[in-house]
């Protein structure tokens, strides 16, 4: 064997030996830096307002996937139209991968308040799920702002607040199915179909 060949083989063996001390690729995938996580936790963008969700449902926006993380009993008693129920404990199940590993949809988690949904968000973010949001204030806020909106006090009323109140009022009629004089007469919407997105497979070869 030539000296050059021996040198190449030695370099390969040394390189391969070094890789023994590297962590597995899969375990690296699950790691998000402390700073990065902290910055994402504090980002306002990780929350979706109840107005945004109501607007998306009313306009039949297909890009939203709503996930109710409460237990089945609570889900059956009341939830938001079109929401899917994935309990906090089952969130990492393989069968729900298609809902959560998606870049084409905005996945919004909600619970009664924000804390349970926040827990799920943290768990998902630490396992490299991206673009997932939480409905701010959960169903309590949903009830307070969309189902039963309160008129702002007269001396606090601004044009913007009035516009928001009008929208909420109309949304309330939309979701509760009550006929109103303003002309919003839509019946309660049926469940929004959830389209599972298939990820494109990577293919390759040599030659």
């Amino acid at each position: 064997m030539k000296r050059r060949e021996i040198l190449i083989l030695l370099l390969l063996l040394i390189g391969a030996f070094i890789t023994i001390f590297f962590p597995n690729i899969k375990s690296q995938e699950n790691v998000i830096g402390e700073k990065e996580l902290l910055s994402e936790v504090n980002k306002a963008g990780r929350y979706a307002s109840t107005d945004e969700i109501a607007n998306a449902i009313i306009n039949n926006d297909p890009s939203y996937i709503l996930i109710d993380v409460r237990d089945v009993k609570q889900f059956k008693s009341y939830t938001i139209d079109g929401a899917v129920n994935i309990n906090l404990d089952n969130i990492m199940d393989d069968k729900y991968k298609d809902y959560l590993n998606t870049e084409a949809y905005t996945v919004v988690l909600f619970s009664n308040g924000s804390s349970k949904a926040d827990q799920v968000w943290l768990r998902l973010r630490c396992t490299d799920h991206k673009g997932i949001r939480v409905m701010k204030g959960g169903l309590n806020e949903w009830y307070k702002t969309i189902i039963n909106p309160q008129k702002p006090i007269d001396n606090e009323m601004t044009a913007e607040k009035e516009k928001q109140y009008l929208f909420r009022k109309q949304a309330s009629y939309y979701f509760t199915g009550t006929q109103v004089s303003s002309g919003v007469t839509k019946k309660k919407s049926s469940s929004k179909p959830i389209v599972k997105r298939k990820k494109k497979e990577v293919s390759g070869g040599c030659g």
């Binding site: 590297f22 690729i25 690296q28």
Partner: protein, 204 residues
């Protein structure tokens, strides 16, 4: 891929880098004798093991290099992991091997050889093109079911065996190096049986 592309290397620069690497690759193929069909086919007849040694070295360099670059955060190795379809892979591999031994080239070396003016390489490229376009235009009618058969998903051998990825790379490298040395000895043994005229005739 990872942060190298598109963060540091934009699509235009990417094309230029690809072009320069392509020229370098073609030059090295020619310089190492890979445009000689007899040298390439030598592995099948037992008088030259250069092909197997080069492919082993290339595979090991890519495996170790990609793993280290992924660890450094320069590329995303998970983006390169294909789904395994074992039936079409087996059939495609057999066809590729047959083409290799009959034609004396693989697609890359045929282009290099054609650039040096070899007429057999040009004929080989025409055959490759007929194969490619023939496959494209008959894909829906003939090949689609075969192409999608035997799907195993993303197969990860280290997960299957249950060992660390780095350890697998090291063990694989050790086996490859032993094979490399074995082929070298095998080549030396057969070369002793060839006369100088034979060696000159084969251009090895």
């Amino acid at each position: 891929m990872g942060p190298l592309y598109p963060d540091f290397i934009n699509p235009e620069l990417n094309l230029l880098i690809g072009f320069l690497i392509g020229i370098g690759f073609g030059f090295l193929l020619e310089a190492s004798g890979f445009t000689n069909t007899r040298k390439l086919a030598g592995i099948f007849y037992g008088y030259d093991a250069t092909v197997i040694k080069v492919f082993f070295t290339a595979a090991l360099t890519a495996m170790i290099g990609l793993f280290i670059l992924h660890y450094l955060g320069w590329i995303d190795i998970t983006a390169t992991m294909p789904t395994t379809f074992w039936i079409p892979t087996l059939i495609g591999g057999a066809i590729m091997g047959l083409g290799f031994i009959i034609g004396g080239f693989c697609p890359g070396t045929s282009l290099s050889a054609a650039a040096t003016g070899k007429i057999d390489a040009m004929a080989f490229i025409v055959g490759v093109m007929i194969g490619i376009f023939g496959f494209i235009f008959t894909f829906k009618d003939i090949w689609e079911n075969l192409r999608n058969s035997g799907k195993l998903g993303k197969v990860d051998i280290t997960e299957w065996i249950g060992i660390k990825e780095g350890l697998f790379i090291f063990l694989f490298t050790v086996i490859a190096v032993i094979t490399f040395i074995g082929f070298q000895k095998w080549q030396d043994h057969w070369k002793k049986k060839l006369s100088q005229d034979d060696i000159n005739d084969l251009g090895i």
